[in-house]
Symmetry: C2
């Protein structure tokens, strides 16, 4: 029931998913039963054998304070959906709702994986030749050095199995590329990350390196990740708006803009999040994908496809084993 186009975009995305995702099991739609039934009827899937409905009478609004909402609304669609995973009646949750509430419901109901203290939001961002995954993009506003190592391990597994990158290059977001750069957190994390033999750790990366395609996985605390994500969104929006204004200044420019429309459209598409559909909360003891609030049916369908892959490849089990295998030398002075 979450997101800007619920329940329509979600129901349609589910409809597309059962038609197109090979090997997909049953999908349970959680929310207002009557509204969901209406939407299913509209797409001719009222009696689809893979589709079920679990009624949840409450909805957490997009702007509600997460912890208060999750505490107050025990029968909200997001809480009921997490409960299905907890009870083993579902393998994954896909939500386009309030990010904080989804995260809160996930960590309260499902907790974290063994060996993992903090979950992280893993977001895909564009670079010159493809995409990189940045985590934590905002689940937690503080992190310890070992959390960043866990983020690196989780991001590496995600990049291998979901993005299909054979040997993901992992970078640590810092304020300079030299080894000695960083704040207390990143300096300590740097010392740990270089000890992980399974990672292709390339060292510190700066904000401008991100978009050059030199790394596939970037780790940072959730405060910094949120700031990077929002800064990039804000700047892209500013540039797009200013370009539109400047093209409208005279008819010649406007005609130029029309002739170059394909290029501008392709440029806008590099920020397209619908291909992978959602950002996983990595480290949660369950599979949770958060779609953008503005998601359309395509984004929802693809989030379901990726969540299905995530479950099929048993990625959480791989994360647990990789984290168990971590072993660090005792810290030495200097």
């Amino acid at each position: 029931m979450g997101g800007d186009h619920a329940p329509r975009a979600l129901v349609r995305g589910v409809g597309e998913a059962v038609d197109s995702v090979a090997g997909l099991g049953p999908v349970t739609l959680v929310g207002d039963e009557a509204a969901i039934r209406r939407e299913l009827a509209l797409i001719g899937k009222a009696d689809h054998p893979l589709l079920g409905i679990v009624h949840a009478p409450e909805v957490v609004g997009m702007d509600e304070p997460p912890s208060a909402a999750i505490r107050a609304k025990k029968r909200s669609s997001i809480t009921v959906a997490m409960e299905l995973v907890k009870q083993g009646q579902a393998a994954a949750v896909v939500s386009a709702g309030n990010t904080g509430a989804t995260l809160m419901a996930a960590t309260v109901k499902l907790r974290t994986l063994p060996g993992i203290e903090r979950a992280a939001i893993a977001t895909l961002l564009p670079h010159r030749r493809g995409r990189f995954v940045m985590l934590d993009s905002g689940a937690n506003s503080e992190a310890k050095p070992e959390h960043l190592v866990h983020f690196a391990v989780m991001g590496d597994i995600y990049a291998r199995h979901i993005l299909g990158i054979a040997k993901p290059r992992v970078g640590l977001l810092s304020n300079g590329t030299e080894d000695e750069k960083g704040n207390e957190l990143t300096k300590a994390a740097f010392g740990l990350l270089r000890q992980v033999p399974t990672l292709e750790f390339v060292g510190n990366v700066e904000g401008n390196c991100l978009f050059e395609g030199k790394v596939d996985v970037v780790v940072c605390d959730g405060f910094t990740g949120n700031v990077v994500l929002k800064t990039a969104e804000g700047l892209a929006k500013l540039l797009s708006r200013l370009l539109k204004e400047k093209l409208k200044k005279n008819p010649l420019r406007l005609m130029g803009g029309m002739l170059a429309y394909g290029a501008l459209r392709e440029l806008r598409q590099i920020g397209d999040y619908t291909e992978y559909g959602g950002a996983p909360f990595l480290g949660v003891n369950g599979v949770v994908f958060k779609c953008h609030g503005g998601s359309n049916a395509k984004a929802v369908r693809n989030a379901i496809r990726v969540a299905h892959e995530f479950v099929s490849r048993d990625i959480n089990n791989q994360i647990v084993r990789s984290v168990q295998a971590l072993h660090f030398a005792p810290a030495t002075a200097g």
Copy 2:
């Protein structure tokens, strides 16, 4: 002698400044005397009454590690220039050289202002309708809550006197706009900032708010500020490069791009740093402006103009008095 086009761009910028900045006093060029003389002769200013030269035989390279370079090269142009300010023979330093080395030389030679523990780099960034100042953009990778308050006070004074904003709106960079958002540092700073009656403190701002023109001053620690700055630079570069590639895909688009060239050029100009020329190191006991390494004569001229204004308006004295006037209620639990 620093920067990508030294000494030519610097000498020419100085030449333009003495011709155009009203009330400007003598300008001392610090560096290789023969090279500077040659450049001055080329612009017909070999015997200009306002221009002097102080020879400095060494140069800190753009990529040299700052602290080692400052320690090893006692006669580098940047160190000698700072020494002139320290001895009262100059009122300000303008440099286009190695940022870290300039900062190191400034803090070693000049120290910070009374009441200020940490200097901050104040950078101008574009928003929808103008510019905002962000500090610290990278002087220190760690900050305490009271440092952020000092940054706010310094940024406010800078925005009033240099940007001419009567009542600058000051925001605290955070991972959400709600009052309770933030990490430990920003939460503590939030509590202090709301107690400063002279500031128009608007609360937490997110990365995407920056470019909307809702704030004139944004404070953050230097690690975060560096990441924001570099992320914005990197994304702008990526988009510009991709647009060029996409326009070249076919002749129609290319013609469109040519017709819309004015719009694209104007868009590129929003990142133009030459108008104000340089970023001040606020909080240093002296006036230090750091120009972009790629600065041309115009940027240098404008940095000198702004540095002159900074001195004329006695901004450092205003900072000292404002910081002395700060008074915080004792911290309470919760």
